[in-house]
Structures are given as structure tokens and as C-alpha cells.
């Protein structure tokens, strides 16, 4: 009898791992597809003369960033942490301490999707003017060291924020604020595109060349989010209720973000702004990412509504501050990563300020996201400034005028004849 029971237990563990592996590997593959969403969104929002260069940048995010995250990044994020960092290389064989029922390698693969998503936020903000090899260098630094440090603090079982009870379910802070504030620093150091501001310093619109393409990118990102957030459960067995909550909250916040942007732009400008509505949906998604596991559906809608307004105000304000962000990455990911993380402290069903949980969680959320945003901003600012003073980070004037596609890559996105 005893022998039979042992076999049953072993088989059950096998079964759990098998089910969880199917769940996580599907989610990881869908998260990987989000890179295609970033590529199309960014390509559509830039001018045709630079549209292939932005696709090259997203490919660089994946290939350079991916190898860097394999060689060094994952070890720093999920090795044996002293609370702030870990020293490991490659994918560790030892128990990471998260109670994983999937292999460490599959866990690495889903985490890879998070790392390259974070750096892809930066690729949009530096569009149309950054040197490609210098960008690749920054990608390696970001995915090998910068992002993994934030992931260590937030998600490593020994990370200092994890130990304080910081709740960032799928990365409003570790992925989106991290990427968004790196994007902000990079855009400041790079300076605006030629012609973005007139003699009086007023912003000039530089319309994207293919808005339907940008919309397709937005839809792919939207779709991918239903793997990004629910997949962060890292297992399906025993999580069926949580996965439902996360998926529902993720949708509700995105829809609310779209609604509030549509209404805001309609009443402000007299017309609905569709490209801003895409950003509004994404803003709702970014904002709910931190708290999608522990807020109510009503709170998710409220968070989305606020995020949709925040992104509209932020895009205009960032433009006025003479920071040129062609795709709105800073407003979507930076500002709403910040807001979404803080919102957990307000709306969490058990510990949120608005639900009688006191201010302790709110303080932890504020502290965590501000540290991550400041860390990302300051370090990126320093690295970019050093690169600017030494090897130069910006394509020269004639290349920027002619288009990076033609000069650096010798390619045209749309060949006119035949």
C-alpha cells in the first residue's frame, strides 16, 4: 500500500509541474510576441524614413538584451540575494525560493520576456535619432545589470522590497517604471528630434507615418498583456481563482483607460484622438499590472480611468518640457508605472488606504516605486551622458535629415516602384 501511495504522490507532483509548464510556456511565448507589438507600434508612430531603424532597435532589444539577460542578468535578479543584488551567471540549478513548479529554465524564459519588454520601452523614446551600436551597448547594460537589480529587489524572495511586502504583481514598477524612467533620462540626454520645436520653443507635431500599423502594435500589446499579467502567477494549479481575477482586472482597467482617454480628448479638443486612445488603453494596462491580483474589479476600472487621463496630461506636459518622446513611452510606462504601483497602496482590498488597511502598504509602495524610478533615471542619465561625451549617442544632422534607414541600414521601408 505504501508503495502505491508514494507513486501517486510522485505522479501528482509530475502532473502539477506538467500543467504549470504548459500554462507558463504558453504565456511566455505570448509575452515574447509583445515585442512584435512594440515594433509595430513604434514603427507606425515614427516617420517612414526611420521605420526600419526602430524595428532594428526592437530586434536588438531581443537578441542583445536576451543574451545579456541569460549570461548575467538572470543571476543578478534571481541568484542568492543579499537583498540588493546577487552574483550568479547563467541559469542557476538551485531552488530560487519562489516555490516554482516549473523548471528554472522556463522561469528564465518568461522572465526574459519581462526584461526585453522593459528595454523596448526605451527604444520608442529614443526613436529617430539614436546611434544603433550605442543603443545596443545600452541594451546590454540595461538587461545585464539595471533591470535585473530592480527585479531582484521586487521579485527575488530575499529582495529588500519583497521582504517589506511590496506588491508589484507583474511589473508596474520593475518593468514599466524602470523602462519608462530610463526612457525619460535617455530622451533628455539625447535631445529632441530636429524640427520638433519651433523658434519659440513650441512643440511641432511630427505625425507618425502609419497609424493603422501603430494600432495593430497596440492590439498585439493589449493581447499580450493577458499573458503578461495572468502568466505572472507562474503556475496554473491552485491559481484558477487568481488567474480569473487577474485577467478580469487587466481587461477592465484597459477598457476604462480607453474610455477616459476618448472622453477626455473629445471634450478637450472636440474630436476623439485615436492614437491617444491606444495610449490610454496601454496606460490602463500598465497601471493595473502591479495590483491586478489584489484589487476589486471596481477598483480596476477606477485605476484604468485615472490612468487614461494621466497619460493625456503627461503627453502634453512632456512635450511642453521639450522632452521628445515620439511614441509616448514615458507617459504610458513611466507615469502610469508610478501611478499603478502607488494605486496598490490605495486600492488593495486588504491593506489599501481606501479600504481601511492603513498607510503602511501605501508607504512601502511609494518608497519602492520612487526608488526604482530614481535609480533607473539617474543611472540611465549618467550612462547616457558618459556615452554622449565619449563616443556620441546621436546620429549626425545629415543622417537625421536623410533618415536612419537609408544611411545606417541602406534600406527603404517602402520601395515606391515595383
Amino acid at each position: 500500500m505504501e508503495e502505491v501511495a508514494t507513486i501517486t504522490v510522485i505522479e501528482q507532483a509530475e502532473l502539477i509541474s506538467a500543467i504549470d509548464t504548459v500554462w507558463v510556456s504558453i504565456c511566455a511565448a505570448i509575452i515574447f510576441l509583445m515585442e512584435g507589438g512594440f515594433a509595430l507600434l513604434e514603427a507606425g508612430f515614427v516617420r517612414s524614413k526611420n521605420s526600419m531603424s526602430i524595428i532594428a532597435k526592437v530586434i536588438i532589444d531581443i537578441i542583445f538584451g536576451g543574451l545579456a539577460f541569460y549570461a548575467i542578468g538572470f543571476g543578478i535578479a534571481y541568484g542568492a540575494s543579499n537583498g540588493y543584488f546577487a552574483f550568479d551567471t547563467g541559469i542557476t540549478d538551485t531552488d530560487i525560493g519562489l516555490g516554482l513548479t516549473i523548471s528554472n529554465k522556463l522561469f528564465w524564459f518568461i522572465q526574459l520576456g519581462f526584461a526585453i519588454a522593459a528595454i523596448s520601452i526605451v527604444s520608442g523614446a529614443v526613436a529617430e535619432r539614436m546611434k544603433v551600436w550605442v543603443y545596443a551597448l545600452f541594451v546590454v547594460i540595461f538587461c545585464a545589470v539595471m533591470y535585473p537589480l530592480a527585479a531582484n529587489w521586487v521579485w527575488n524572495p530575499n529582495g529588500w522590497l519583497a521582504l517589506r511586502g511590496f506588491n508589484d504583481f507583474a511589473g508596474s514598477s520593475a518593468v514599466h517604471a524602470m523602462g519608462g524612467f530610463a526612457a525619460l533620462a535617455a530622451a533628455i540626454v539625447l535631445g529632441p528630434r530636429l524640427g520638433k520645436y519651433d523658434q519659440n520653443g513650441d512643440p511641432v507635431a511630427i505625425p507618425g507615418h502609419n497609424l493603422p500599423l501603430a494600432a495593430v502594435g497596440g492590439f498585439i500589446l493589449w493581447f499580450g498583456w493577458f499573458a503578461f499579467n495572468p502568466g505572472s502567477t507562474l503556475g496554473a494549479v491552485g491559481n484558477w481563482e487568481l488567474i480569473g481575477t487577474v485577467a478580469t482586472n487587466t481587461f477592465l482597467a484597459s477598457a476604462a483607460g480607453g474610455v477616459s482617454t476618448m472622453l477626455y480628448t473629445y471634450f478637450k479638443y472636440g474630436q476623439i484622438d485615436i492614437t491617444m486612445t491606444i495610449n490610454g488603453v496601454l496606460a490602463g494596462l500598465v497601471a493595473i499590472t502591479a495590483g491586478c491580483n489584489i484589487v476589486s474589479p471596481e477598483s480596476a476600472i477606477l485605476i484604468g480611468l485615472i490612468a487614461g487621463i494621466l497619460v493625456d496630461i503627461a503627453v502634453i506636459y512632456i512635450d511642453k518640457m521639450r522632452i521628445d518622446d515620439p511614441v509616448g513611452a514615458i507617459a504610458v510606462h513611466g507615469i502610469n508605472g508610478l501611478f499603478g504601483t502607488i494605486a496598490v497602496g490605495l486600492f488593495a482590498v486588504e491593506d489599501g488606504l481606501f479600504f481601511g488597511g492603513g498607510s503602511q502598504l501605501l508607504i512601502t509602495q511609494l518608497l519602492g516605486v520612487l526608488v526604482i524610478a530614481a535609480f533607473s533615471f539617474i543611472l540611465t542619465f549618467i550612462i547616457m551622458t558618459i556615452l554622449k561625451k565619449t563616443i556620441g549617442i546621436r546620429v549626425d544632422r545629415s543622417e537625421e535629415t536623410a533618415g536612419i534607414d537609408a544611411v545606417t541600414f541602406g534600406v527603404e521601408a517602402y520601395t515606391t516602384f515595383e
Partner: protein, 113 residues
């Protein structure tokens, strides 16, 4: 032999094409163009920033006709392309020295119909 360059509203292209075909002037070359004339200036908003001096989409039809068909051609375009409003477009007429049909090498008036 004359060259007619007509800049018209894109929505009128089909009607003009049909009219010219019915008038036995089937050969046209069409290009999408942007421009501005006397119509009110037009602005758009892109992601919250106003863009002024937006150029309007128009279609430019080029056709080469014999002198005898010139007035007929102009009438057809006027009839089918006008809304009697600013922004309808314009017609320009040029002299043409010669024409050569590539497939047969025929020159002059025989080459254009």
C-alpha cells in the same frame, strides 16, 4: 496636341474617368497629390499638438488630347469635378510638341488615341 492637367477632389475621380471614357478620351495618367488653393486653411491635431497648414489631398489627372478634343475634354472635367466651391481644383492646359507610342513607334496625333 494639348496636355491637360486637372487637379480635382479625390471623390470626383471615378466620375471624371467615366465621363472621359464616354467622351472617347480613355487615356489618362493619375497621381495622388497634396496641395492648397483658395479654400480655408485647415488644421489637425496630432497627439494634442495642433498642426496648421495641412495640405489637402487631391488627385491630378494628366491627359494628352488632340486640339479638336480639347474643349470637349475640359467640359467633361468641369461637369464631373465641380461642386461650385473653393477647393474644387483647377485645370491647366499646355502645348505638346509630339507624342510617341512605344509599342508601335507611331508619332503625333495617332499616338495619343
Amino acid at each position: 496636341m494639348k496636355k491637360i492637367e486637372a487637379i480635382i477632389r479625390p471623390s470626383k475621380l471615378k466620375a471624371v474617368q467615366r465621363g472621359l471614357k464616354d467622351a472617347d478620351i480613355p487615356c489618362i495618367t493619375v497621381a495622388a497629390v497634396k496641395g492648397t488653393g483658395l479654400q480655408k486653411s485647415y488644421s489637425e491635431r496630432y497627439r494634442g499638438t495642433e498642426q496648421s497648414m495641412i495640405l489637402q489631398n487631391r488627385v491630378m489627372i494628366t491627359c494628352i488630347v488632340s486640339d479638336s478634343k480639347l474643349e470637349n475634354c475640359i467640359d467633361v472635367i468641369k461637369e464631373n469635378a465641380s461642386e461650385n466651391k473653393a477647393g474644387d481644383g483647377k485645370i491647366f492646359i499646355y502645348d505638346v510638341k509630339d507624342a510617341i507610342r512605344l509599342s508601335t513607334g507611331v508619332r503625333g496625333n495617332d499616338a495619343i488615341i
